[in-house]
């Protein structure tokens, strides 16, 4: 089985991110960059799928600058990806990245394409469905459990929604976006790290993949970045529980006027 996995480099979840004084950019120098956490789950799902089906191969893909290749693809090699493609471009948005990925996968024809349910930087939730549509493949999104049938023709997935859970059967090939729950992402072994040094990603530019001109343009033009609205310090109540509770209810009713 040919398995593909898509990885993106994003600022770490705990990183403090500052907006430039003019609000036109983010100050990302010095901010720790990591493999998008949901993509780590996707990579884990890919590794488990390969373990379940003898003779399978994993192709990893990252769209981004050299740092994306250095972190995402070297990590993918270190945990066992067989091949990798680096689409070298730091300006594509998620739509452009999906177009570039579609061009790569049209050639390599994976049986299943894994990606994270969302990238935690732009939080658009666009990539998996967009990629599926471009490739003419079905998609299953935000899957927290996946079992690929022994014949490799379908996958049974579980997906959480607002107040419950769905079980879906998806015909392969398909694009499957992964949520937490498929298994803890593994860390590379020392041998894995050493082996990774012998592997090289194939580098492509968006233009080589036919993503140029209007296709490469961002869907939304960003005008301004701003920190979230700041809150003024709240009221702190330190009296004994019964009094504190009564005081709070009074404030919610008379001051906030919300109950």
């Amino acid at each position: 089985m040919n398995i593909a996995v898509c990885l993106k480099l994003v600022p770490a979840t705990t990183a403090d991110i500052k907006v430039a004084p003019d609000g036109k950019s983010l100050q990302l120098s010095g901010v720790e960059m990591v493999v998008n956490p949901y993509d780590e789950y996707a990579l884990e799902a890919a590794l488990r799928a390969r373990e379940a089906s003898a003779g399978s191969k994993i192709e990893a893909l990252a769209v981004g600058g050299d740092d994306a290749s250095a972190k995402c693809l070297v990590h993918a090699f270190a945990v066992g990806a067989d091949t990798a493609v680096h689409v070298k471009d730091a300006t594509l948005d998620s739509r452009g990245a999906a177009k570039a990925a579609a061009a790569v996968f049209k050639a390599s024809k994976p049986d299943v394409i894994f990606c994270g349910r969302q990238a935690i930087d732009d939080d658009q939730w666009l990539f998996p469905g967009y990629l599926g549509e471009l490739l003419g493949l079905p998609h299953a999104s935000a899957v927290s459990n996946i079992v690929i049938a022994p014949d490799g023709q379908s996958a049974t997935c579980k997906r959480r929604f607002e107040d419950g859970e769905q079980t879906l059967t998806v015909a392969l090939p398909a694009v499957i976006s992964i949520d937490k729950g498929v298994g803890e992402p593994r860390s590379p072994t020392l041998k894995g790290r050493l082996d990774a040094k012998k592997k090289q990603a194939v580098v492509k530019t968006p233009a080589e993949l036919g993503v140029a001109g209007a296709d490469a343009q961002a869907a939304l033009s960003i005008q301004q970045y701003a920190p979230p609205p700041q809150k003024t310090p709240g009221k702190v109540i330190t009296t004994v529980p019964a009094e504190a509770a009564a005081e709070l209810v009074k404030l919610l009713r008379n001051e906030a006027k919300i109950i």
């Binding site: 991110i17 419950g164 879906l168 979230p228 919610l252």
Partner: protein, 325 residues
């Protein structure tokens, strides 16, 4: 400006609150241009009958063949509803449905996508959008201009609700969504609903959450009691879910759900950045915590410093007293 198409969600025929939010925003954007809605699934025609009063001139309804949710068919139905109107804007509420189908829809309709908007207004020939990125650490203002349509998903509870003074025509049009072999490529075989009587976390007006400080699943009873007393949805921090005190469906935060209620009551939650990502846009935040230095106090409007095992039941009693009065 061409028309606006709203994907109105409902619960078995009862229009959801987020659909009312969408219709209110859609009316302000339409400014006289055609405003249509599409309603899908069992109960759709019943929910559709409500939409004229919210300003829809036409409502596309697909109920036959839509008994069980199937993403590819839902995409086809929305695309079919968009075919005659060719809307400049398609609005959905940000949630499981939009996250499942908007990526595909935007490719099919050649549309731009702006997910989880907290503000949306006309600007020049297009729209100005405000949306949180980086898990709420930054807000970005962006413009969608040009001829390509815009698919915007709106964060629940971020927009006010207003009924128009006079209803629109509300003409019902049956949408025939043909079954195709494509539909069989994704089949939903099971659909289990958790909870039941309690409001849906992502849409709830009041949310009460408990953290690891609760200490056990049994102790979460005080959270449920408080939530039930005020009609709130109960939630939990990741630490509480990981410890097995509450199911994952209740998790609020970066790897769980994003909530945006009027009132958020955090009990025994310190406020890790990943938790704040899921609730920081709540209008009023109450924190109940032993630790006067807990990070959540920085964003709390009201805080009670004390033992949650005493404060939470006392609060439940006070709310009950107030609601009886």
């Amino acid at each position: 400006m061409a028309g606006i198409l709203v994907v109105a969600e409902h619960n078995g025929g009862v229009l959801k609150k987020n659909a009312q939010e969408l219709m209110t925003v859609a009316r302000s954007l339409a400014a006289g241009a055609p405003l249509e809605a599409v309603v899908l699934g069992p109960g759709a025609s019943k929910a559709a009958a409500e939409l004229g009063a919210w300003g829809a001139s036409k409502i596309h309804v697909a109920e036959a063949g839509m008994e069980a949710y199937a993403p590819l068919r839902w995409v086809r139905a929305v695309a079919a509803a968009a075919q005659t109107l060719k809307p400049s804007t398609l609005l959905m509420s940000s949630g499981s449905l939009s996250r499942d189908i908007t990526g595909r829809l935007s490719a099919r309709l050649g549309a731009r996508l702006a997910s989880d908007c907290v503000a949306l207004k006309p600007s020049g020939s297009g729209y100005q959008i405000v949306r949180p990125i980086l898990a709420g650490r930054v807000r970005v203002t962006a413009e969608a201009a040009g001829d390509a349509p815009l698919i915007a998903t709106l964060r629940p509870n971020a927009f006010s609700i207003e009924k128009p003074a006079s209803p629109a025509a509300g003409a019902i049009e049956t949408l025939n969504v043909e079954q195709t072999p494509e539909d069989l490529r994704v089949i939903v075989t099971e659909f289990s609903r958790a909870g039941g009587k309690r409001p849906d976390l992502s849409e709830a007006g009041i949310v009460v959450t408990g953290g690891r400080a609760l200490g056990s699943a049994d102790n979460f009873k005080i959270i449920y009691d408080l939530a039930d007393a005020i009609g709130a949805a109960p939630g939990a921090s990741r630490a509480a879910v990981d410890a097995g005190y509450a199911p994952h469906a209740m998790q609020v935060g970066q790897t769980g759900k994003t909530v945006n209620p009027v009132l958020y009551i955090a009990c025994g939650i310190s406020g890790a950045i990943q938790h704040l990502a899921g609730m920081r846009t709540s209008k009023y935040i109450v924190a109940i915590n032993k630790d006067p230095n807990a990070p959540i106090l920085k964003i709390a409007d009201y805080a009670i410093i004390g033992d949650l095992f005493q404060v939470v039941p006392a609060l439940t009693e006070e709310f009950k007293k107030m609601l009886k009065a």
